[in-house]
Symmetry: D3
Subunit: 248 residues, 6 copies
């Protein structure tokens, strides 16, 4: 009874601690060393991993590699068409903030010495947006990164495995007083507090970005949100493992 | 016998006058008034049509509408990753040339008075490239445009139908001395002459863009290419009709 | 005894829970409606508040105001000269991320209806950097914002007070296994985990941005960091009140 | 009789198959290795050829040279002043499209191996515009290119002649139902179909760019236009030969 | 005897106080309201005046007009090709400095009230450079401005004459210890001190821009330079009057 | 009596030949090799000198160094907030003009051979503006440059002293018919003629930039202005010497 009441307040009818249906489709496009279409409900992001055989300028000659990310949104991924950033003459602040977050998150599971002097670029392009594009992007980009590492391993180009652990991300927020997991656009627009949480599969925190949109949030609210996020990321890591276990 | 010989020279094993498998998938994304994923073989382009209720500045107050296009390529749509135009700070010459071509082509089947003071923007984003992205984009964008017009009609927002005829496009070229239809990337890179032909369903020419990459082409070669293109566009128009006949 | 040991590990000799010397100097420049030079140790940021008598375009006619921020760093605020963003042709990702954070943080203590159709822009320019520039900027910009509101009140331009509560920010991090408060540059470069915490004077959280630079951080580490931050922000809010109590 | 009737419909009084007066003035400016002022009636374009002793980055070390073009229009070359592209912050789509066309056209008559690791840049700047600026530019740039090659030959810097054939260009179109040659601005604005044709002096096609501005054009109209273009280019090639025969 | 010695030191063989041959050709292009090709020796600048029937935003509704200038250099106006500013993405510092100087200089002979709410833009484009492009531009632009004012008068669009006096400019410098007038490129590169002087036909100074390239210049050197400049500008004003006296 | 009359016309009550109070504060920030806060009355400019151990590209391998300058203005240094140049996407014409002037002025007192292959960049950032920001910047930047040279000398990195003489700058102008020294903003806005004069401590002229804002200025007015400027620069050079004589 009590569980059903808050659940009924979500526009999607989900329980407060319920993820949207998540689909992770590998090998979505042909050219990239890793290519994953990830869906968190109606949010769909194409994540490709591209390997380049040199380190970025600031790491040249140090024997280390780099993992970086770029983020984009197709103009009509959203309800209203947004102007193409290439036509506007550059990437906006939101885009830069998101792609820096994705890059940092994925570097957290990579041993850059083991990667060697290579750069792996994760391009996360939103085909359709319904909230949570950055968390879907991180979750999908991890799988594309694993496939790109697999591509290197299959060619015996690595001396040891540069991957340690897995990384996934989910949003949590307080909507109408209830802490909920994996906000869709309707909830995101209406929430008081919104937090994106990136964690590894060992339950460690990699990135926490919380914003009080309405009133400031109290410590006990924060604790409830962190518990929801831990549960969600654990489920997402399981879904990543399942996807990676399916044949190449 | 003789027909099979040239056919065997195509990397794909196609006959010289054979299109690649074409797939036109409507309603590919949710938000746009028209949304079509078109595939010409491994070339896949997402075409969305977005309606805005005002004319562009140069047409304000004239009672006419406008149809325009933008083109983009995801960074890893290609064999080698290409830099994101938004990160480079602007659209390059090739992008501008292509999006101007798409816009002109689709304006050729629209009565701008009947459209009224509206702008329809066709965003053509290449998810995967294997040659012929601009011809696939025009062919798919036409279907997205029809769906967007249908959206307006369903809401009784138009006094009369602004569409006349259909528009599709295909590339033709001379590869190793043989005129062939619908070049894939391997053929495009190797061809002597390359022509993009945009036609309507009545067999009229809308755009012709031919380039001699190797030696200049003779008049009889041009004639052969135009005949191939006419055949190809007729088939594409039939495929557009089939796609549009499938329930909305 | 045990408390002194970790303290001795800080390059500055501070105790783990000790802020750097904080100076808040109001009326630092003459033209702005609010002008504050804030120092967190060797980090010095000039924060000015400028009032404009119109709302930004997206709020026109809604009877609401807006508070926004811009952030800059003088080229030689840092140990190595950094290229001037105006000369590079635009603001970088880090700058955009920081100024968006400052803006969101200060909007959290403003009733935008009460502000009326005005825009207050907080320009935070770093004259000298030694870690924690964004937290110093938020802490100082709040005081400049209060002075700008005071300027409006003195001219009887507001019907009611748009300010509720105070906002301040501090960084916390784990350096060599020890949670410490208000990192300077030496600590920031060496830390495993770095978190910027924006809170109000009621102890509520406004923004939390934590990043694991080395290993992922555990929940108990997070709890220790949040406790440090709460202590630090409480002290900063007291220092803001003192500064504001000194005659205009 | 019949010939005179359509002739009278052209604003300039020209016969349908008549070029405007063409003037090709070599050595127009002093510094460039080739410098040609070309006039097609009131359209005047200054074409300079500049030799640089290195290949562009994508050809380094391949023993080949490159020919490229840039196009510009002085702000008051046109009836209404147009904004300077340098002041707008970059070249527009039309400019890029035209300069790419000029470059491709002139590369069609150059043996890049014979040119050696050099770049020849053709700058085509429109001093006065009256339609047909791109075709005048190609026709004049060819002469500037020949002069630049002559400059290299006079210094014994080439092992063999990199030029094969000549290149010229002309526009054709259908105005009020009549196919006409070399459209001026008044005709260009009014025409139904507009085609730019680049050919060599052997009658081979190098570039064909046709656009239906009004209704789509039929195959027989295309044939008539191609015949007019062939005649026009043959005359232009004769005028280029005459200009080049006049003493250096 | 003594006079001939320094004269022989000028690369051109000119006397120290001798201008280069000056040619002022009006009506050089067709569309602009004023169009002048000015030559100071081998320096050739096309100056066009374009009238727009509105004042710039900062003067709207004040009943005043504006005169402004833009400056450009064709890529191969110089001995080495310089990159096109439109291709580089914007105007450089030297260009901005020069066009601001031209604009200020010409505003000095205009009664902006009498001009009415109009903008006259003087585009000065260097076709060939051999030193002194900015002084040639000012001298030629004045004539184009007079022609544009004449165009307005001929249409009875002005209540009273907005022109007062004439404006011309010349460079002076100290080359190998000798003060000389109207430096060409060879002298400009070698000089110790270089000064651009803009004066009116009454002998009043409008702009003085002197730079010590080598050692600082003494007061008596400055006096000698100012005397040379006064002589040169008086001659240029006479040449402007002659050009304007020739039939329209 | 006579002296007091003109004096009373200055808004500040200064005598016509009186500088504003000048303060030169060395070591204002910590990181730069030279760091000076200079105040000319209410105009305050932070000038830092940064040493880089390589020459700019155009001087590589020539054994010479370079001195260059950049100029910026904090958004609220002025009475009305001005948009940040980094946010506008580039430096404007006024900024470029000023920073080129500062750079040229300071190169006039440097032996670039003696400096060796180094670049010293002088960043002049206006914290508060009240007229004369460029002359204050030059005067302060000279002191920062001397400190940076001192930094090199203290580390025995120079074979001989690259400094010869001192450089300072001041503005002069004609306000209401009276020639005055060191204009503040109120005078600058109202003046008929405005001249910035850069001189060395030997009384030689380095840069002269005079502009007639109202009527053209006569030779005798110019003479009066130059006399005022000489007096002002001599005083500024004395103040520079005093500041440099105070302990490091």
């Amino acid at each position: 009874m009590t569980a059903s009441a808050p659940s009924s307040t979500r526009p999607s009818g989900r329980a407060p601690d319920q993820l949207r249906p998540v689909v992770i489709e590998r090998h979505y496009t042909r050219h990239a060393e890793g290519s994953v279409l990830v869906a968190f409900g109606d949010t769909r992001v194409l994540c490709t991993a591209s390997i380049e055989d040199k380190a970025p300028p600031f790491l040249r000659g140090k024997g280390e590699g780099w993992v970086t990310a770029e983020y984009g949104m197709l103009p009509r991924a959203t309800g209203q068409r947004t102007q193409r950033e290439a036509a506007r003459g550059g990437q906006g602040g939101r885009t830069m903030e998101i792609q820096r977050l994705i890059g940092r998150s994925l570097r957290a599971c990579i041993d850059r010495q083991a990667l060697g002097e290579r750069t792996i670029t994760l391009d996360c392009d939103v085909l359709q947006a319904d909230g949570g594009t950055r968390t879907a992007a991180i979750t999908g980009a991890y799988v594309a990164l694993v496939d790109a590492i697999g591509w290197l391993k299959a060619r015996h180009l690595l001396k040891r495995d540069p991957l340690f652990g897995a990384v996934a991300a989910v949003s949590v927020g307080i909507v109408d007083g209830t802490p909920v997991l994996d906000l869709d656009y309707a909830e995101d627009s209406a929430c008081d507090t919104d937090m994106n949480v990136v964690m590894n599969d060992g339950g460690g925190f990699i990135e926490l970005q919380g914003t009080a949109e309405g009133h400031a949030f109290r410590r006990e609210e924060l604790d409830a949100l962190l518990a929801l996020a831990s549960k969600g990321v654990a489920e997402l890591c399981a879904l990543q493992r399942e996807a990676l276990a399916r044949g190449a």
